[in-house]
């Protein structure tokens, strides 16, 4: 079997696995919202086990979705390793199985943040804490090795300054760096940094776990490390999706490819630096953190999101405004995804402003903004790639007839779902409550409405996925 065919088959397997987990994880989310609405009755342990599974699974699948997509598209420029791809897939499967065992069999329920010292307050099976931490370790090792492998291949063809597009800072350069290569390089460096942080975090957890009380961690350090890892990796996952947008949107729209410019280069180099310090905005309520770090958190939150988002939005508008565009499901998903990213990004920047955070901290505003730029941003970027890849596997385009209808219902469901979160946040309804007391008068109604909108979103997703899934399944019967 040739390498390209092998890559297509592995990518098909990734897509099928991700989509299966995605549908299940959405179902968990809908179940939680119905429980908050008091429409169904779950025990608190079941609710928080579902919350933990939902959070970690969603973060995980969209990180690997982005990595798998850039790995596939990287094969246009450099040789990619199918061995590493398979290695990462094997460890991901093992990690997810371990994770789900801890939550569904071991009833582990700290939430995806597993904030110190919660994992040690075992209100679940004793084995679940080390197995949960190990599952993160297994996932992290697979993704770390894969990231380093991809970066290695990029640096085989592009020198380090070229990979970062530094030659575009001045005039008269002879070498052009494709935007896809720049964004992928910047993002992979960030992914490697936050996976190293995860390794450090797990070492500290296990050091305390096995020390039998002779070693205690510092709560502030652990919280900093947790959000360095968690906040950064979900942002990097989004940027991997943006990389696929830069590569595919012009192509599927029948427009010339994006050219590298000095401002695109500056924006994405800034993103590398600022995204790594934006996580400080998660610690505004930790008064033991020095004030200077809090200010860095606010400033970095602005600079991490604004340059990359504005440059991308500008590029997309220039691409489609008053230009003949061949519309398809792929570019519709990309364009709606950019809108979702921007809306969610604005919500994030509002919350990352210290004076606002006093009001919005740990309210439903938080899930509102991150669901917007994930469910209506990054997920759509990945779905766009899946749709394009499924066509690329077999060279058969799907008819456009119902695509606009699918997108319409996806937007109704998705934006309706996040709107219920935003309204809840504006009413200062707290997040992470299994049940809302009667004092929060609107909370149950909003949760119920949110769940029904999520069902519309899920239905639209399943309709969109049908063709993709069928093509991916057929891919396994293709031989040379």
């Amino acid at each position: 079997m040739n390498n390209i065919l092998k890559l297509k088959k592995i990518t098909s397997a990734w897509i099928l696995a991700i989509l299966l987990l995605f549908v299940l994880a959405i179902s968990f989310g809908i179940t939680m919202r119905f429980n908050q609405a008091n429409d169904i009755k779950l025990s608190p342990v079941t609710f928080y086990s579902l919350m933990t599974t939902h959070g970690v699974t969603m973060v995980g699948i969209w990180v690997v979705a982005g990595m798998m997509a850039v790995n596939y598209l990287l094969s246009r420029y450099v040789k990619v390793s199918n061995g590493l791809n398979l290695f990462a897939m094997a460890l991901t499967v093992i990690g997810v199985v371990m994770l789900w065992l801890t939550t569904f069999v071991g009833h582990y329920h700290t939430g995806w943040t597993f904030l110190y010292p919660l994992p040690f307050y075992t209100a679940w099976e004793k084995w679940a804490t080390p197995v949960f931490l190990l599952s993160l370790g297994v996932l992290g090792i697979g993704w770390f090795v894969w990231s380093v492998g991809m970066l290695w291949q990029i640096l085989k063809r592009y020198s380090l300054p070229q990979a970062f597009a530094w030659q575009h800072f001045k005039k008269g350069h002879t070498v052009e760096t494709p935007p896809f290569i720049l964004i992928t390089t910047v993002t992979l460096v960030g992914v490697i940094a936050c996976l190293l942080t995860a390794v450090l975090l797990l070492i500290l957890y296990f050091a305390e776990y096995f020390s039998k009380g002779t070693f205690t961690n510092d709560a502030l350090l652990m919280k900093n490390l947790t959000y360095f890892f968690g906040h950064t990796i979900i942002n990097e996952a989004l940027y991997l999706g943006v990389a696929t947008l830069y590569e595919l949107l012009p192509e599927v729209s029948g427009r010339p490819k994006f050219k590298m410019t000095w401002y695109v280069a500056v924006a994405w180099n800034c993103t590398l630096l600022f995204v790594l310090t934006a996580f400080f905005h998660h610690l505004y309520m930790d008064f033991a953190q020095p004030q200077s770090f809090q200010i860095i958190g606010q400033v970095a939150s602005y600079f991490a999101s604004l340059p990359s988002a504005s440059v991308t939005a500008f590029s997309v508008i220039v691409l489609i405004y008053k230009n003949p565009v061949k519309w398809s499901l792929t570019n519709l998903l990309f364009v709606v995804g950019v809108a979702g990213w921007l809306i969610g990004g604005i919500g994030a920047v509002i919350d990352a402003t210290i004076s606002n955070n006093f009001v919005l901290h740990n309210t439903l505003w938080v899930p509102a903004h991150f669901h917007t730029y994930n469910a209506m941003g990054n997920v759509l970027f990945s779905l766009a790639f899946f749709n394009w890849a499924a066509k690329d596997f077999q060279g058969i385009a799907s008819p456009l007839r119902y695509d606009k209808t699918k997108i319409f219902w996806l937007m109704v469901g998705g934006f309706g779902f996040v709107l219920m979160f935003y309204i809840g946040g504006a009413y200062s309804i707290p997040r992470r409550y299994a049940e809302y007391p009667n004092e929060f008068t609107n909370a149950k109604l909003l949760a119920s409405a949110g769940a029904w909108f999520a069902i519309i979103y899920l239905w639209a997703i399943i309709v969109i996925l049908f063709n993709i899934v069928m093509k991916c399944i057929k891919m396994f019967s293709v031989s040379e």
């Binding site: 094969s75 640096l155 380090l160 961690n217 510092d218 350090l221 033991a288």
Partner: protein, 250 residues
Amino acid sequence: MICLFSKAQVKKYNYSEESRVYQQVADITISTNSDGIKKLSDLYSESPLIIAFVYTRCIGICNPFLAELSQNISLSGTDAKQHYKVLVLSFDTSDRVEDMNKLAARFNFENNKHWIFATTQQADILNKSVGFNPIWDGSRMQFDHEALLVGINQYGYVVKKLTGLRNPDDISLLLRELNGVFVASYQLPGNNSLLSCFTYNPATGERKISLGLLLLIAPFVFSLVIVFIMAIIMNRRLKNTAVPHHYAGT
């Protein structure tokens, strides 16, 4: 390695105020000066409770402790909205209710509805549940003990502990926390707490950046090192190959 590296910043603290916090207090039986025999839950279910541990034969800290507590509560700016009761409880099982009545009279608390004086035969159980460890000194016929205040909320959980003679601000924070007002608090480094982000000098209030904070920078530095090493290795190969002027999409 981590332990050795950070051993230098470990200091010997003994913050017994941290033990048993957020744990359920034992629901013991007490004999009060005002309402006879009661369960502890009868008191804390009515309003948050501050337990002051004393005994009447005490020739050490007990009397100054009560005097200071009385004065500090009045200075703490408590308003009518803050509900509380102070249970002055003898942990000496040889004390009788009459002894406690005399103690109440000495401080003019006989008719104060906020102050209850009581004895118990289940002192050991209560002491264990709140982390109070008096030691009997047979030669002096006295208990060796700390001056301890324990704040119990309306659900019977230990919310806060204060050791020693404390100022009105500390008492005010205790009362506010017992009444459900948010009071900022943070875990203090213990004997085994390594790799702190900051070292804190309680005497001066000075805070210095410490070794733990370096760990935040380490992942980024290591990732750059990995990238630079790969770039150096690859740079040698690139010198001998054609530089791409444009990319060739498939």
